[in-house]
């Protein structure tokens, strides 16, 4: 069921790319042939979202930012809205400082994503998907396959993958984030890359 509700947040009236973003734009636009600048809509939306994260701490794209992107690329605003609403990586409402993106697709689910989800809820106090914790730090989103099935289950925090998660590891991670630390991303159980759990098993692993 889909139903639009009155938004419970305020859309900023203005948005402008800041100096840091402006510096990146020419490089992005140069990747597309002349007259095909509209192709840059995805990178520019991403740029806007990152600028919001940098300046406000919440990685989302206000409508004003989409209008700025549309103007910059000389395309009708609604074409930008279509793209931005299609891709789930763009957040069109404010989110917490840490965006907890939980994969619950089959491989992660088989490897215990339910436990990771429960730990997230317990540690942050969030009840449902797309909700933000009372302290404004965390937002939980259920996502489809993140492409890290070998190291399932995966919890993506902003841009980083935390792999081989389980309940306690998740709670420890969230506590660390809350303290302002940035735990190193990657496997929670010390796996090297995507190698098998019991150590390398290939012909060239040095045994033979």
């Amino acid at each position: 069921m889909s139903a639009e509700q009155e938004p419970d947040f305020v859309q900023p009236e203005h948005f402008a790319f800041d100096a840091e973003s402006e510096q990146a734009i020419p490089g992005i636009l140069a990747k597309y042939p002349p007259g095909r600048q509209a192709s840059a809509v995805l990178p520019l939306l991403d740029l806007a979202q990152r600028q919001m994260q940098r300046t406000t701490g919440s990685a989302w794209i206000p409508t004003a930012a989409m209008n700025v992107v549309a103007e910059r690329l000389a395309m009708p605003p609604v074409r930008v809205y279509e793209v931005a609403t299609f891709y789930l990586m763009f957040n069109l409402r404010p989110i917490g400082k840490f965006h907890l993106q939980l994969c619950t697709t089959t491989p992660c689910w088989l490897r215990g994503s339910d436990e990771v989800v429960a730990a997230c809820r317990k540690a942050t106090g969030i009840a449902g998907w797309h909700e933000t914790s009372a302290d404004g730090l965390f937002t939980m989103t259920e996502v489809e396959c993140l492409g890290g099935c070998v190291n399932a289950p995966i919890l993506q925090v902003n841009d980083d993958f935390y792999e081989d998660m389980d309940g306690p590891a998740t709670e420890r991670l969230i506590e660390a984030l809350r303290r302002g630390e940035t735990p190193p991303p990657g496997s929670a159980i010390g796996r090297q890359g995507s190698a098998p759990l019991g150590g390398p098993l290939t012909l060239l692993d040095g045994k033979g």
Partner: protein, 685 residues
Amino acid sequence: MVKLTVDGIALEVPNGCSVLQAAELAGKEIPRFCYHERLSVAGNCRMCLVEVEKVPKPVASCAWPVAEGMVIKTDSPMVRNARRGVMEFLLINHPLDCPICDQGGECDLQDQSMGYGWGDSRYREPKRAVMEKDFGPLVKTVMTRCIHCTRCIRFLAEVGGAPELGATARGEDMEIGTYVQQALTSELSGNIIDLCPVGALTSKPYAFVARSWELTRTDSVDVLDAVGANIRVDARGPEVLRVLPRINDDVNEEWLADKSRFAIDGLKHKRLDRPWVRRDGKLVPASWDEAFAAIAARMKDLPGEKIGALAGDLACAESMLALKDLMSALGSHNLDCRQNGARLNAARRDFYLFNTTIAGIDRADAILLIGTNPRREAPILNARIRKRWLSGHVPVAAIGPAVDLTYAAEWLGVGPAVLTSLLSGEQSFAEKLEVAKQPMLILGQGALARPDGEAVLAAAWQLAQRFGMLHADWHGFNVLHTAAARVGALDLGFLPAPGAKGFWAMRAGAVDLLWLLGADEFEVARIPPTTFVVYQGHHGDRGAQRADVILPGSAYTEKNGTYVNTEGRAQRGRLAVYPPGEAREDWKILRAFSAVLGRPLPYDDLKTLREKLATTHPVFARVGALPAAGCTDQSGPGGDPAAMLPNPFTFPIANYYQTDSISRASPTMVRCTETYYPGLAMAAE
């Protein structure tokens, strides 16, 4: 040409044809929702699946190009099964609310479900619901019914040139809307109601008013702008309930502008349904005899030169001929139809016509707009310019205050000085006109309705000469009118004879009796009190307020009338409903009054009147058709371009939605004004 077989019928079709078009050429009906021949191909509804031999799966025929030797089957078991499957999917989320749906009875989904569907569904889960969108005062939405054909999106992006609709989100969450909940700003937005194959987009003013099978349909023409769009008037009993476009590729294709479609509720408000006579300064109801007697009494002993007549913007040719004949019987040659004061030259027809023709725009290779904003003056014609601009990167330039025309026009300047610099070749756009083979210019009323209008007309003609717009098979000189009656009036010679009084003189009180035939579009209040004003018309608008005698006439849906559009194409409007109360057809009023004066006009029925019209003015003998375009005489209208003033052109229409007595009386148009021109709506209060 490509040879192929459709259901065993061998035929040849043009290269680049789609399988769907080939099947239609073979006379096979292919069901479809998203495909529309005047829009780009989307291929997303899948209803047009057919079987093509050697292709393992059914193919979407609308998006599948033909190939040599192709064997197409449109009625095989595979095709029938595919259609039933698609239909079942389309109906998964479609509500079964046909009994309360305004589209019921003329719904593609209903019809095709009956024709090609399965008659049952295996879907037992809850259906999705979608919140209504607010598209403004004209288009009502019931988005739960939407099947995502995207015709409305494509129409506004391609034809309308105001891309405001889109498909947001994806999968089951996909919705059609503006995302920001704004009213559609296109003057052609009503057409998405016709395009919508289901009941998702319906007419807001017509909501829950009538069923399609209750309506009487009458083919007619629109008079709310000078394009002469072909329309179908749907009425029930005495009421006109809706107006829909009819297909005419030479005029409106299959589109209709919003004012023409939605202003019809103005036909029910502020109507004059009985004669009125002013006694002791107040208008009091009167009988026809009393009204005629009051006019006859005032006319008694008045010499012809003290009587005058002005024809309004909605008048039909029949009534104007009758008025002209009545005036000449009275010895008056004080006639005028140019209420906006346009300096039109009627010496030759091509001085005031849209000579290129509307369909001819498709062949122009450079377009210059002078003092015109066709988006407001003739939205359908503007859509043609946009279509041409889209199809071939045709350069378009415009002179006047810059506005959004829905295509990228190069704004050369605001005033007549640009014409001079184009003539001298200084202006850079002159080069583009120079290389163009079939350039055209469009001269708007904004350039002519000013003191130096004659000079502008002359300068424009010189431009046409200078840049090769005038040759035997191409006439690139065009005047765009805003009034449906204007060209007909000019054709009839509804103009002051040499030495007689014209519009300005009559308004200033040069005549003692002024007959207004639906003339409302000027400052009626400036007619001095000494002038006795007869107002013959259908709405209690500006003219009626000033009148000393009011004769109730009929609106365009209530009479058989001939109108000549801006191209010079005579077209017939037909009576769909009878005029209200004691109101009568306009020519009959004039014929009856002539009898009161003892000088009866020489026609007793419409047939004789039309015969007279056709014999005295041959243009009215060719209804619907246009003579071949082309310029045989290069000599221009009089006037000295050097007399052009420096002041900028202004566009004649400030508020698209209210330009005449009908649209000013329309509650729907009032709502549109409030939505789209909040500043003007405030000023009116």
